[in-house]
Symmetry: C2
Subunit: 328 residues, 2 copies
């Protein structure tokens, strides 16, 4: 299989996802438009199965495997959202999923992954080598690794979100807009960028990251892959990765505008406004694109901006903390 | 205009709403299925414009007026959700809206209604006669009254939600189910019942109310309209009405199954589970149908149940209170 992802691959992934993934709505609110100084459209991917876009890529990758390979089961490394996406996609295909998770992952995500039918194997981030653990299990049981972002069928699956954005924006008469995407390893961002290149070529994708963890923005500026100096210390844990992927970065470099970054507090405020004005729940990492649209408007161009709200798997304590920031 | 609402009226209302109201998603979660002991499908009407189904009826009524009448503006009495629906529908038609609200309505709802462009007139529930205030303003300015539920074009608009439920359930292969609807005056409930009578005749609508404010359930049992003994003392303020409507009750009586009722705490728990598992925000009155599906399963029949989540306009303090009930 070629490493390049084409619009044919994306259309095929969307066809495999049809009837299995949700077509999530494109929401808006006059109250958010007023804050942003332009029309803001929110692609509510938190309403996807398992609460994040990750189900798309997981389903795409699993459904693309030949049946004999798939029957032996799959394995994934994930701190949460990818884990849940793979777990549900595997369960619905009737095959086993082993998920290797750090032992300090949020309890809600560990519980959810187990409840979705996966076998969760915890490892210690400091003292254990997760790749060695995974490789050993994969070999012993014939499991196929489902990577979180740097794999063509995963990128093609996430790109189905971009096809929907193109169609839903056209439906609103919108042809030109910056599309802000919460960005970790770049699977969703590169997938959406590829879909829009083909179906809405006047749109420009811009990755959004947490301040201090802006490896993608720095890599885009430098023209080559740069790493994050640290991997903890942000509330936006879902989108903290060491560096952009080898497959995703060339796509991001070719297609994306400059990256944006937001503070944890801005992400929390965007969460609160999403609850109040859109009636959706976001996690901090899933709220950074909306936060950029609302609080960094001077860095954005155009009458319309589209923000992808990529996930909503957040503990009640953090929701409560976000709500405390809004004075009503 | 006849007082009867036909499927032709409903299809016509849906056509007028097309491109203006959102087609809200039908959501589900394996975690909620487990609690409910069957598959639970949530019609997320909290994602409608203005955060509740009320926009449908308001748009339907406004768009059905002749242009000369509409141009003079409209007036409505409402404690909140109907007010916001009428305000936005009027603003998008470019006409004035006067909203008569009790002075003790939640501040968020008063503010939102004003921000949506309406002129809000507050009255004291105890000492003032809202009907006299409204009649005087309507006459002086030639405003048309948009009733909250007991009007054919309003019922036809709310019924568009039922058309969507029929289509979305069929899409999931569901032909037979009880459909639980949060019920105040019965506009949404009767509208959905009429739509399903025509398009999904194996479905049965059941009204859901707050405990102690179950005028519809008691009226259905008695076969004639009964009143609530009180109009305050529930968190579910959005669906507290004195009694079912003269137009809605005969429809409810002809088409609905027995009513259900839930406690305030059950409504709060359903709100918390909706946030955690579906990533949607509900208000207590918009969560009673889901609460019945989750916590009164022994009173419900069938493999599938559909719960309409009718609104999400809730203050942060109450969201925080709901979140405190879930132990994670």
């Amino acid at each position: 299989m070629s490493e390049a992802v084409t619009i044919t691959d994306i259309d095929a992934a969307a066809a495999r996802l049809n009837g299995h993934a949700r077509r999530t709505p494109l929401l808006n609110s006059p109250f958010l438009d007023e804050i942003a100084g332009r029309r803001v459209w929110i692609k509510a991917e938190c309403l996807q199965h398992t609460g994040s876009f990750k189900f798309r890529g997981a389903w795409s990758a699993l459904s693309a495997l030949d049946e004999d390979t798939r029957k032996r089961g799959v394995i994934a490394f994930s701190s949460g959202n990818h884990a849940q996406g793979v777990a549900m996609a595997a369960a619905r295909h009737g095959v086993a999923a082993v998920i290797i998770m750090p032992s300090d992952a949020p309890q809600l995500k560990i519980d959810n992954t187990r409840a979705l039918g996966a076998e969760v194997v915890l490892y210690d981030r400091v003292s254990e080598d997760r790749d060695a653990i995974g490789a050993q299990m994969a070999e012993a049981r014939g499991l196929t690794l489902i990577k979180p972002f740097d794999a063509p069928m995963v990128i093609a699956g996430q790109a189905s979100c971009g096809l929907e954005i193109a169609a839903q924006a056209a439906n609103q008469g919108i042809d030109t807009a910056q599309v802000l995407v919460c960005c970790g390893g770049g699977g969703l961002t590169s997938g959406i960028a590829l879909a829009l290149e083909a179906r809405a070529p006047n749109m420009t994708v811009r990755p959004v990251e947490p301040e201090g963890f802006d490896d993608v923005a720095r890599s885009l500026r430098a023209g080559r892959i740069e790493r994050n100096p640290a991997l903890s210390g942000s509330l936006c844990d879902a989108i903290i990765t060491p560096q952009p992927g080898d497959l995703t970065f060339p796509i991001l470099k070719r297609l994306c505008g400059p990256g944006l970054s937001v503070s944890d507090e801005e992400a929390l405020r965007a969460m609160a406004l999403a609850m109040l004005r859109l009636k959706i729940v976001l996690e901090p990492g899933g709220a950074v694109a909306l936060a950029a649209a609302l609080f960094h408007k001077e860095k954005i161009d155009g009458e319309d901006v589209i923000a992808v709200a990529s996930g909503g798997n957040v503990d009640p304590a953090l929701m409560t903390r976000a709500l405390a920031l809004v004075d009503t």
